[in-house]
């Protein structure tokens, strides 16, 4: 399949114009297969990326670049389940990514 999502990088440009991810601890809610995660994760201190879809999380883990291992974690969670055990004040940035 030759589908290409946002090859113009419009979303990435808009995101990076709003936030410098340097040294930030990030929670991404609705990460899917990591499509957006890869585009900012290299500058973040740590990324916790969650999505309720098991197949998407599996793809994200399979595609995780070696250099990001240890800094990026993908977990199959709903936000409800994740936040139930989340410590207060633990993230510098939280991204709601197309997860209305």
């Amino acid at each position: 399949m030759t589908v290409s999502v946002d090859p113009e990088n419009n979303e990435t440009r808009a995101l990076l114009a709003l936030l410098d991810f340097s040294a930030r601890r990030v929670l991404e809610i609705g990460c899917g297969d990591g499509r957006l995660t890869w585009r900012y994760a290299d500058s973040a201190e740590h990324v916790m990326a969650i999505d309720p879809k098991a197949d998407a999380i599996t793809r994200a883990r399979e595609n995780l670049p070696k250099e990001l291992k240890g800094r990026v974690e993908f977990h199959q969670f709903t936000f409800e389940d994740f936040s139930a055990t989340g410590e207060p004040s633990s993230f510098d940035s939280i991204i709601f990514s197309w997860s209305f």
Binding site: M1, T2, V3, S4, V5, D6, P7, E8, N10, E11, R13, A14, L15, A17, L18, L19, L27, F79, E80, S83, G86, E87, P88, S89, S90, F91, D92, S93, I94, I95, F96, S97, W98, F100
Partner: protein, 152 residues
């Protein structure tokens, strides 16, 4: 959704920020490109989340009015998903099966018919014609308003 935003505020550091990326409340457009020219446009028949978007926006408005968050920045951008055929796009988004079988669901059947028509037009446009789903999205940067511990 309001509860989710309350939880976001709890998980954020007081000097942190929430980035909220959502499509605008308007149907995405199916477009056929020949080179840089758009030669066909039609609203995406699979657009079925307008009410979800309205509810999400209402929840955001509510938490802002309660003082949990303050909008610091807002911008918009075009978000395109390109495919070499309409069926590829349809299968990618999983809105309906991309096979040629008649669907028992009238809504799914209409989606398949529109995508099939778009594909016919794309093929008639000649070599190099591409199809894309064009969404308009907005991105917000919101700061938690931690001084307001007792929302009103």
């Amino acid at each position: 959704m309001v509860h989710a935003l309350e939880e976001v505020q709890r998980l954020l550091k007081s000097d942190g920020c929430l980035i909220d990326i959502q499509p605008l409340i308007e149907a995405p457009l199916l477009k056929i490109y020949q080179g840089s020219s758009v030669i066909f446009v039609e609203p995406d028949p699979s657009y079925d989340y307008e009410e979800d978007l309205r509810q999400a926006n209402a929840a955001l408005t509510q938490v802002i009015q309660r003082g949990l968050f303050v909008i610091e920045e807002r911008s918009e951008f075009d978000f395109l998903t390109h495919g070499s055929s309409a069926q590829e796009l349809l299968a990618f988004w999983g809105k309906a099966s991309a096979d040629d079988n008649i669907s028992e669901d009238p809504a799914e059947q209409r989606i398949k018919e529109v995508y099939a028509r778009v594909e016919e037009i794309r093929q008639a446009a000649g070599e190099g014609a591409e199809v894309a789903l064009h969404e308009r999205a907005r991105i917000l940067r919101l700061n938690p308003n931690s001084r307001n511990e007792e929302p009103v």
